[in-house]
């Protein structure tokens, strides 16, 4: 009847993955029309980045919720910091990749933006629908 943190987060992961799959499918089709195979790879990389970005926060929250308040904040904020560094490296590698043609570059950006904004809408919808019990 009531939701807890785990059930809400697993719903976010499940529906979020489906959303990213949909965005990547549309992005790949558009990318293929614009830049061929490079466009498809660009949409896939953008989708992977957006999915990993959301999923890592969810995992850090699930792990952190098992600890006390201090541990929760350490895991969530520490995870956030590490994630930022990981993504900086990921985008740096992608930025210098030979297989990414100049026509395909905007496909990465727009796939990331579409997946992230769509993900936010989904997250808000799930949280507003969730009935979370007080812990006492």
């Amino acid at each position: 009847m009531f939701d807890d943190l785990n059930s809400v987060m697993f719903r976010v992961l499940k529906l979020g993955s489906l959303l990213v799959l949909a965005v990547v499918s549309i992005g790949s089709a558009i990318g293929f029309l614009i830049a061929g195979t490079s466009g498809v790879l660009a949409a896939l990389s953008g989708g992977l980045a957006a999915l990993a970005f959301t999923a890592l926060t969810v995992f850090s929250l699930l792990l952190g919720a098992k600890l006390g308040l201090g541990g929760f904040l350490a895991v969530v904020l520490g995870g956030w910091l590490i994630k930022m560094v990981l993504f900086l490296v990921f985008f740096w590698v992608l930025n210098n990749a030979d297989w990414l043609s100049s026509e395909a570059r905007p496909v990465v950006f727009f796939t990331v933006v579409a997946a992230v904004i769509g993900g936010l809408v989904l997250d808000t919808w799930i949280v507003t629908k969730a009935r979370i019990t007080p812990s006492v």
Binding site: A49, V76, N95, R105, P106, G119, T124, V127, S135
Partner: protein, 85 residues
């Protein structure tokens, strides 16, 4: 005359920006989410301290706040793909 020349050279040197401007871009992209996440977390700690029984609900709300704030950071990190020369 020589002093004016030195002054002119100094102004030219100071006003020149060399190196990769993307570094400045990342710095600017990091400021907003940094402040935002800090505010979200500090208010959550305050709220949990006031009403510990609402911790589960506040943690989910905090996650939503972080998700919105970090979206800006991710878009900021991805901008080189459209703005690069």
């Amino acid at each position: 005359m020589q002093i004016i020349q030195i002054a002119a050279e100094t102004v030219t040197q100071v006003s020149q920006v060399t190196g990769n401007l993307g570094v400045l871009g990342y710095g600017l992209a990091a400021i907003g989410p940094g402040i935002g996440v800090g505010l979200v977390v500090s208010k959550t700690i305050e709220s949990i301290a006031r009403q510990p029984e609402l911790a589960a609900r506040l943690q989910v709300t905090m996650w939503l706040g972080i998700a919105f704030t970090e979206a800006l950071a991710l878009i900021g990190l991805a901008t080189p793909f459209i703005f690069a020369a």
